[in-house]
Symmetry: C2
Subunit: 398 residues, 2 copies
């Protein structure tokens, strides 16, 4: 019996290996400071839990439409549209079991084998994996470090577009680097998409994880609504990563295709959870606000802790729950030339677990800087402070 040839192009999330290391270290009796997890150790708001139980009791336990229940599609169209200044109706929404399914289904809807799709690197590793698994060519675009964070390397992005390019994946409020486009940069990306007639997938997983000010969407720029699919997820805002509910939002024709893929892949997203998401979007918002406040406190503690380390200097990101410090000086001090040495060293000497640049897409030729990634969504302020103190001691030693 054979296995499919195409599986050789199927990637994964290598960060699971870091989790395994952390678990193994904890099993030896060490208290581990978990900065490697992009998960949230906070409770889902109570009104959502109540609505879930009510949905089950009301018999929302049978099949529902593959595209999602109408009340949720209406609520998502209104919520996502009004937060972006775009008019959407339920025909623009396909409910999904999480944020991630939109990635694979978007690519399945627009890409033929051999086509090229631009994607951010460092970036969420599933972009690269799904493009290549589905037979396309994953063409990375990169970022340049600035005083205030990271900018897209627009020259490289422009130079990477070919006659075979069909789509660009754009992740403003970016995982893992917390990059945020200026208005000018966002307009430049949109201009490229329009000029070359490209589809755009905007991964808006962190669109509402903004600690100050407003979010801006590329889908709202002129000429963009008709070529843009928004990846929406409830996972972060409501601390419900394990519930698996989200949506694909975009032009009616591609949304119909995505819903037909739903029919084939999983029938529908959990019925009573969809019912509860109407409450999440239209009910008491104080639970989500409280989650954001807690994460802001953690951000401030984590940024302060990192900047207290001699050799690390990062700005305070306005969004996401990730920090992506450059650790060139630490690596030089330690005499390390592989980032894994620092990652394992921090676990074993400071009990601090984190991911590195290498967990977020294939490293590119010519990269000389070293970066590590901290997530502060799964660790309390007290533990952030303790962990950072231990890390300082390890990073500052030779």
């Amino acid at each position: 019996m054979q296995y499919a040839d195409q599986l050789k192009n199927l990637g994964t999330e290598t960060a699971f290996a870091v989790s395994a290391q952390a678990r193994a270290w904890a099993a030896k009796g060490h208290k581990v400071y978990p900065f490697h997890l992009g998960d949230i150790n906070l409770a889902t708001p109570e009104n959502i839990v109540d609505a879930t139980l009510k949905g089950i009791r009301d018999g929302k336990t049978g099949y529902c439409p593959s595209e999602g229940i109408l009340p949720l599609r209406e609520a998502l169209a209104h919520d996502v549209g009004s937060r972006r200044g775009i008019s959407f109706g339920p025909e623009n929404v396909s409910v999904q079991p999480g944020g991630k399914p939109t990635i694979g289904k978007f690519i399945a809807a627009v890409m033929n084998p051999g086509d090229e799709v631009l994607y951010p690197n460092p970036g969420y590793p599933i972009y690269e994996s799904q493009i290549e698994y589905q037979g396309g060519r994953a063409v990375p675009y990169n970022y340049v470090q600035t005083d205030s964070g990271f900018d897209i390397d627009m020259d490289k992005l422009k130079a990477s577009i070919s006659d075979n390019t069909v789509a660009i994946i754009y992740n403003n409020y970016q995982n893992p680097i917390s990059a945020e486009s200026s208005q000018e940069e966002m307009e430049a990306v949109a201009q490229l998409a329009i000029e070359h007639d490209l589809w755009v997938l905007t991964d808006d997983a962190y669109y509402e994880m903004i600690y100050k000010g407003e979010a801006r969407s590329i889908a709202a720029l002129p000429g963009m609504k008709e070529r843009t699919v928004i990846l929406y997820t409830f996972s972060k805002k409501y601390a419900m990563t394990g519930w698996r509910v989200g949506g694909s939002i975009g032009p009616e024709k591609i949304i119909k295709i995505i819903s037909k893929l739903n029919v084939n892949a999983e029938s529908c997203t959990t019925h009573f959870i969809q019912d509860a998401m109407v409450e999440a979007l239209t009910g008491d918002p104080s639970g989500a606000q409280s989650i954001l406040n807690t994460l802001r406190d953690r951000r401030d503690a984590a940024v302060a802790g990192l900047n207290a380390i001699n050799g690390i200097n990062i700005p305070t990101p306005r969004s996401t729950f990730y920090l992506f410090p450059n650790v060139n000086e630490i690596m030089a001090r330690k005499g390390y030339n592989k980032i894994d040495q620092l990652q394992l060293g921090a676990l074993e000497n400071a009990n601090v677990s984190f991911c590195t640049r290498d967990h977020f897409g294939r490293p590119q030729a010519g990269e000389t800087d070293f970066f590590i990634r901290f997530a502060y969504s799964g660790i309390s302020v007290d533990d952030i402070n303790e962990g950072m103190a231990q890390l300082k001691s390890y990073f500052e030693s030779k």
Copy 2:
């Protein structure tokens, strides 16, 4: 902007059109007798609902492993194994968001473009759709009507195997025809798989919907465990079609591949629902027994109602919740030559809604018999009796 070429080979479940017709007829003020739905209008057992709420309160709301939580994989390995006389461990189980995801992921794991996969026709329409969408050739095998039900046309099945055949999809306790293999037939299918070194996907969605006696699994036959993936679902047994939880169970290597597909497709299945499924498998089984008893009463009423119609004569199936009567005589009496005429006529003249053979895979050249499909899982015994009386009157009139 383009759409992917391969979408032209993506099928769907055409039975949704029947649901739309029934809804439209009901909206005109008619009471519709819904025999078209493969859904269950019974409550999920209370102990499962309680366990779900407990899981949420216990914080099972974050990500969990893509392959599923260990306690559920252990419970599934034990339950599925012991009901089939096979020894499985957690390494043989990949939890899925429903039964359906196993179909697409199994095909993705074993089939290359151009390969052939044998599948039952009439059968669940997603087999055909997923094989063709993923670039394979869907090669149907069929059934012959007997006094006791349906037998697989083994001559045609044998003749359909070529050097390009890589797998056979087998659905004992079959949707839509309720076919059940004799020991001899099951052994003959297994023999073909072994002889031609084929993978087998056994769709066991109805394996525990047996009204009398025991179920038997092809995976338990000699030489089969190492080439068989079992599609397991909680949907039918516990009346939880809308919860979306099931599993792929089979050899460790292919299960690892399927779990890697999970990482790429949807991260994981809803965490607290997995937690509750441990209770479903190991806790009080009386809820599931009560669901089965109710469905048995409905089966008996539906079989009696159909057999009271002049021109219909069906045996009583031991499993599933479907009936698949031959309606040649009714069609002749009505002077119809398209099964849609009878389907629409029954809705508009008897308020009875059902699917037809045409909703279960592409009809084959040379088919001369007419079949319709009744599901009795979403309709009470009283309504079955009322609906069947109206249907009798319509079917017996010229």
